[in-house]
């Protein structure tokens, strides 16, 4: 039986894993390769490394981190942050990533999705969507949430899938970092609109939140960062709670 995936996200700044709320008050959470290995050992089904470094020299730091992480990580490994063209994606794959995540660049140039998928396969292309509730619908934001696009999140997810995306990583900006639960309404709308897997992100605070997003939100996978880094939620413990609620998960892991 296909299981629901628990994905650990590592936000990286200048080669170190960091965690803060909405990119503020960043705290050091360790070395990316070590963090990734530790999360995998605890039972994470997948690792996402997002580079949020804003300074120059970012590219080499990212590639070094990807190389070091990939060397001893044997679960799917997705890398995102600043991938703007096919060559950026190629370098990240060359360094050992299995999938890349693109966000702003895909909105600016939807053809980029097909270009990367054409060369590396759709399974390697994750389109990340940051959505925020505006009036009654969900609007897509880019540039780390600073820039409104006027695009509707559900429509954009459909278009991204049609362009060749293999998965959608859907972040609720309203919930991100709040630990108040996933936005199940948003996740469900998108999950029902596309045939590719949808990864829910933003708001994870407890095992109950994961149960809800898999049940009510129809998510295929759920991603979290801070609750794993600081040991608030142990992944193995989380999975045993999911099992008790009859959510299929990889076990033992």
């Amino acid at each position: 039986m296909l299981t629901k995936r628990i994905i650990a996200c590592l936000d990286m700044n200048g080669g170190r894993v960091v965690k803060g709320v909405r990119f503020e008050n960043l705290r050091d959470a360790g070395d990316p390769a070590e963090c990734a290995r530790e999360h995998a050992r605890q039972g994470a089904d997948e690792i996402v490394l997002l580079d949020i470094t804003a300074t120059s020299g970012k590219r080499q730091t990212l590639l070094q981190a990807v190389r070091a992480t990939a060397r001893s990580l044997f679960v799917p490994f997705t890398v995102g942050g600043g991938i703007r063209q096919v060559e950026d994606a190629a370098a990240v794959f060359e360094a050992g990533a299995d999938k890349i995540a693109i966000n702003s660049a895909a909105v600016r140039e939807p053809e980029l999705i097909g270009k990367i998928a054409g060369r590396f396969g759709s399974q390697a292309v994750v389109v990340a969507i940051d959505a925020k509730k505006v009036n009654r619908s969900f609007e897509v934001f880019v540039a780390s949430g600073r820039e409104a696009t006027g695009l509707n999140a559900v429509q954009w997810a459909r278009e991204a899938a049609a362009c060749g995306a293999g998965e959608i990583l859907l972040t609720s900006m309203d919930r991100d970092g709040t630990k108040s639960g996933f936005d199940c309404g948003l996740v469900r709308e998108v999950a029902e609109a596309v045939s590719i897997p949808v990864i829910a992100s933003g708001g994870a605070g407890s095992a109950r939140d994961f149960i809800e997003v898999f049940r009510e939100g129809r998510a295929d996978a759920a991603l979290a960062a801070s609750i794993f880094h600081f040991g608030i939620e142990n992944i193995a413990q989380l999975k045993s709670e999911l099992r008790a609620a009859d959510i299929p998960v990889r076990w033992p892991c």
């Binding site: 296909l2 679960v75 998965e167």
Partner: protein
Amino acid sequence: MIAIVDYGAGNLNSVKKAFDYLGAEVVVTDHVEVIGEADRIVLPGVGHFSSLRALQGSGLRGALLQAIAAGKPFLGICLGMQWLFEGSDECAEVAGAGIFPGMCRKFPTSVKSPHVGWNSLTLRPGSPLWRGIAQGSFVYYTHSFHAPVLTETSAASEYGLRFSGAVDRGELFGVQFHPEKSGEVGLAMLKNFCEV
């Protein structure tokens, strides 16, 4: 020495990395002679069935068929396993090796496609690849087309229907999932392949 066949499709790094981690001697190659000299052959592959077309013009197809006929241990991963069948509806004009009968087909519309994630295996005990692997172990899949269940099916998974997660015949093995991405379970399978 293990030869990982490079026919220009997708990303072969993760497969090489896993064998490196296991301490196996491994080369990524598109040379027929290197494949001829190798003790073991791995045919990886992700993406579209049409990328297997590259095997045809290059002499690689003949070299692989010859190695399989000679009984050299061979592991096809994902598209590499699908190639062992007659073909795939994904690209009907590219022929598979036809070693196993049947075509690879789409999943039924009752389930989302592609099939992505960790799914459990119903193992047929006795395959050397499953040495030390527990019944019901989870492995990582990512694919839109699936191979039929045959008498040579050594592991099956369920997703809208029952399909071949793995096939084997003698020293010839195919796995639809990605052992290189399936954690400790996958590494143990690759290690078993190194010892076949």
